[in-house]
Symmetry: C2
Subunit: 109 residues, 2 copies
């Protein structure tokens, strides 16, 4: 996981913050698969994520339409359902317009 | 660290993603102090954070003015300078308008 390199604003961010349950069955495989699948979506720009007590995942998108298409992807809908039944105890999804962005430092590290 | 409970949109999010250097001196104390100081700022609504290979910290604010005031807080400016000289090898700050938010699950866990 590196920092994402995104184009100049405006573009969109989806901030997904979550608390995991104790159920680990299927989680890592599905998370990995969803990451691969998201990268294949039209309008996907990148993502950044970390988890300690909570998980904070931010994905970047060209447009609201791109986000809508990913939200309603059939395989992703199934993962969302198992997310609620098995893997998460709580989560929030926030749809945001990125208005400004400033980067500093060496992104090749 | 729990999930943040924020008011209905619109409000603002600052997404700060970073890569740490090997320098640990002063980092934890300053991070803790900045968290306390941010919570005291007018217009602060909450924050969510986690770090693995990268750190992803999102803070929520009532307005761009509140973000500007926090950005230019004297003690925060000093921390930002030491961040560049000592604690980080790279970071990105994104200023975002939160347009929609959906929560699910038990936030009291």
């Amino acid at each position: 996981m590196h920092l994402a390199t995104t184009p100049p604003p405006p573009y969109y961010a989806v901030i997904f913050t979550s608390v995991r349950s104790d159920i680990i069955e299927g989680y890592a495989e599905t998370a990995q698969r969803m990451e691969e699948l998201a990268k294949q979506q039209p309008g996907y720009l990148g993502h950044e994520a970390a988890r300690e007590q909570i998980g904070v995942t931010v994905s970047y998108w060209e447009s609201l339409e791109a986000i809508r298409n990913w939200k309603t992807n059939t395989e992703h809908i199934l993962a969302q359902q198992t997310g609620r039944s098995d893997w998460y105890t709580a989560y929030t999804t926030r749809i945001c317009l990125v208005e400004r962005a400033y980067s500093w430092g060496d992104f090749n590290l």
